[in-house]
């Protein structure tokens, strides 16, 4: 279904759509080219797919192109991805040559003669070597580069410094660079299947299908079953809280790939110990309605990550009016105003304590949920993200 900007009037802050239209007036017919590595299956692709028609509706001549590359290029990009996020991997000289050469080949077929070019992430960063004299170039980094492997960052940096500006998702991702660095938070789409309003009937039938009774307060964590999301820690926190407050725990998500994924799932099942009030629900990432329904059915949403990128699941829960208890990691701290929209915690005990606080104070939980929704409305919706891009384009084209 094609979504129009006016469809967002009902959900975005009052007057904000009109402001977007006025901001865009100065950018009318300006050519903006955005380049990423994937057309489907990633958060960046999802964002660009929704953004591009909205920018076009605002009068910006926006295009989205994707670079192509063979297996060697994909392997080089994957290794670089791991290294930039601080993991161990190998990035050989041969891989570097493949990486640069593939970008050179792509540059020949791309319409780079444009007012602004925005390159998303590391895969297409070397395209900047083909930049024409005219036009402004922005590198948009969606990765968590807070603690990159230094050699990998140094390699990428030689391209990044040739841009006119860089954009990161969190202040802690910013680097020492001689170009301006802007902060733009990622966003959620309130009209998507994952976030749209659901009827009570839809929520109930989804819970029935998943075999989750709605007879007691539901604690929910939605995330990949990965060590960094600390699902076992969530089960331990639930156990402590359960001594005083009857509740259910739902851990929904998909196992991480390979042996590590199987191991963490086994650990979760062991920790759950057959407790009928603990539900480990395996869902593919495409299960948007199910995730939406679970978030709406929950009394408290938990995101007890020990390591996290931005963690947009927090914004999704906030948008559904839920108080959130989050680990002190990544973008969770940017989304939760402590004691106002939720709590950040540093331990299992801290998580258990806050579960109790919220279950024992339903009025507080409701107020936090309301405030969380308002905070999400102003900061984490796609309309805010669009405005930030318009502001960025305006600033660059001055």
């Amino acid at each position: 279904m094609k979504v129009s900007l006016d469809d967002y009037r009902a959900v975005s802050p009052p007057g904000s759509i009109d402001i977007l239209r006025r901001m865009a007036e100065k950018l009318r017919s300006r050519k903006v080219l955005r380049i990423s590595a994937h057309r489907k299956g990633t958060g960046v692709a999802e964002m660009l797919e929704r953004h591009t028609p909205l920018l076009q509706e605002l009068g910006v001549d926006a295009r989205w192109e994707v670079i192509q590359g063979g297996e060697g290029f994909q392997a080089a990009c994957q290794a670089l991805y791991n290294l930039l996020q601080g993991e161990e991997d190998r990035f050989t000289e041969e891989m570097f040559q493949q990486y640069v050469q593939t970008n050179r080949e792509n540059a020949r077929g791309l319409p780079l003669e444009t007012d602004v070019v925005v390159i998303h992430d590391h895969q297409a960063a070397p395209l900047v070597d083909a930049r024409p004299q005219e036009g402004r170039w922005v590198w948009r980094c969606h990765l968590d580069v807070a603690r990159p492997q230094r050699k990998a960052w140094a390699m990428l940096r030689q391209f990044v410094v040739k841009y006119d500006a860089a954009v990161f998702s969190l202040p802690k991702f910013a680097q020492r660079l001689p170009i301006p660095q802007f902060l733009i938070y990622p966003s959620i789409d309130p009209l998507s299947e994952k976030n749209r309003e659901l009827s009570t009937g839809e929520i109930r039938s989804t819970l029935d299908r998943l075999g989750i009774p709605a007879d007691k307060p539901i604690l929910l964590q939605v995330s990949r079953f990965h060590r960094f999301k600390d699902p076992v820690g969530v089960i331990e926190a639930y156990r402590i809280a359960k001594k005083q407050n009857d509740c259910r725990l739902v851990l929904a998500g998909s196992p991480a790939e390979g042996e590590a994924g199987r191991r963490i799932l086994a650990e979760m099942e062991l920790a759950a110990g057959g407790d009928p009030d603990v539900h480990i629900v395996q869902l593919p990432e495409s299960a948007e309605i199910e995730i939406n329904a679970l978030q709406r059915a929950a009394a408290i949403v938990i995101q007890k990550s020990t390591r996290e990128g931005f963690g947009l699941m927090v914004a999704e829960a906030m948008w559904k009016g839920k108080p959130v208890i989050g680990g002190f990691a990544g973008g969770i701290t940017a989304q939760l105003i402590y004691e106002v929209t939720g709590y950040t915690v540093n331990s299992v005990e801290g998580c258990a304590y806050r579960i109790r606080t919220l279950l024992n104070n339903p009025d507080l939980a409701a107020k936090m949920g309301e405030d969380a929704r308002e905070f999400a409305r102003h900061h984490f919706l796609i309309t805010r993200n669009l405005g930030d891009y318009l502001a960025l384009l305006t600033t660059l084209l001055r």
Partner: protein
């Protein structure tokens, strides 16, 4: 001066605004580093952490009304410092340079009284940022007090921010744009003084809006009673 029937010769045009956030790539892990940063960052960074805080929190106030106080109390877990920084009033400070001076003085004094310097352990570093404020016409022009009241009621909260906070801090004025227009455009000096007396830093943008609307209502009532 005010024209016929309380109508200003020159209309007041509401401007909304959008903040583009720029990272300075500088951070602090303890009070000495915060102090050093405060002394060196551009004034737009002081502005970001003490003023546009209100733009980012138009409806909901955090525990304290500026980023420095929140960081000290929550991330550094130095509640005394958080409280001392929270009570700073930019309205009283006057301009951004004076505000910087006051912040530096508090940090310096705090350092001279603490035995050991706490450092971020579990919390986050302080990241210095700065604002780039883009003014955007809000599409509302008014010529009378009644129209101003109506405009205040329906304009985006960022316009309240732009005409009050931005006017006071970045344009270095002692009065908000509203107060200037009420006096110069409508010729209502007393009401302008009341608008000027509203301390916007004591509350949220939405409450500032409500207070300004209430002042318009009081003035209208007084006008119809006399």
């Amino acid at each position: 001066m005010g024209g016929k029937n309380g109508e200003a010769k020159h209309p007041f045009q509401f401007m909304a605004c959008w903040e583009l956030r720029e990272m300075l790539g500088r951070r602090a892990a303890d009070v000495p580093e915060l102090l050093e940063g405060l002394e060196e960052v551009p004034l737009d960074s002081i502005y970001f952490h003490t003023h546009s805080y209100f733009l980012r929190h138009p409806y909901i106030a955090g525990p304290y009304p500026n980023d420095f106080a929140n960081w000290a109390a929550i991330q550094l877990r130095d509640r005394v410092l958080g409280e001392r920084l929270a009570v700073i009033d930019p309205f009283e400070a006057g301009d951004l340079e004076a505000l910087r001076n006051e912040l530096v003085t508090i940090l310096d004094d705090h350092l001279s009284h603490v035995g050991s310097v706490p450092r971020v352990v579990f919390g986050e570093f302080f990241f210095f940022m700065q604002s780039r404020i883009l003014a955007v016409p809000a599409g509302i022009k008014v010529r009378t007090l009644a129209e101003l009241r109506e405009g205040l009621e329906r304009v985006d909260a960022s316009a309240i921010y732009f005409h009050v906070f931005d006017a006071l801090a970045r344009k270095g004025r002692r009065r908000s744009d509203f107060a200037v227009w009420i006096e110069d455009g409508l010729g209502r000096k007393e009401l302008a003084a009341k608008f000027s007396a509203v301390n916007p830093y004591a509350t949220t943008l939405e409450r500032v809006r409500r207070r300004l609307i209430a002042l318009c209502d009081e003035a209208e009532r007084a006008g119809s009673a006399s």
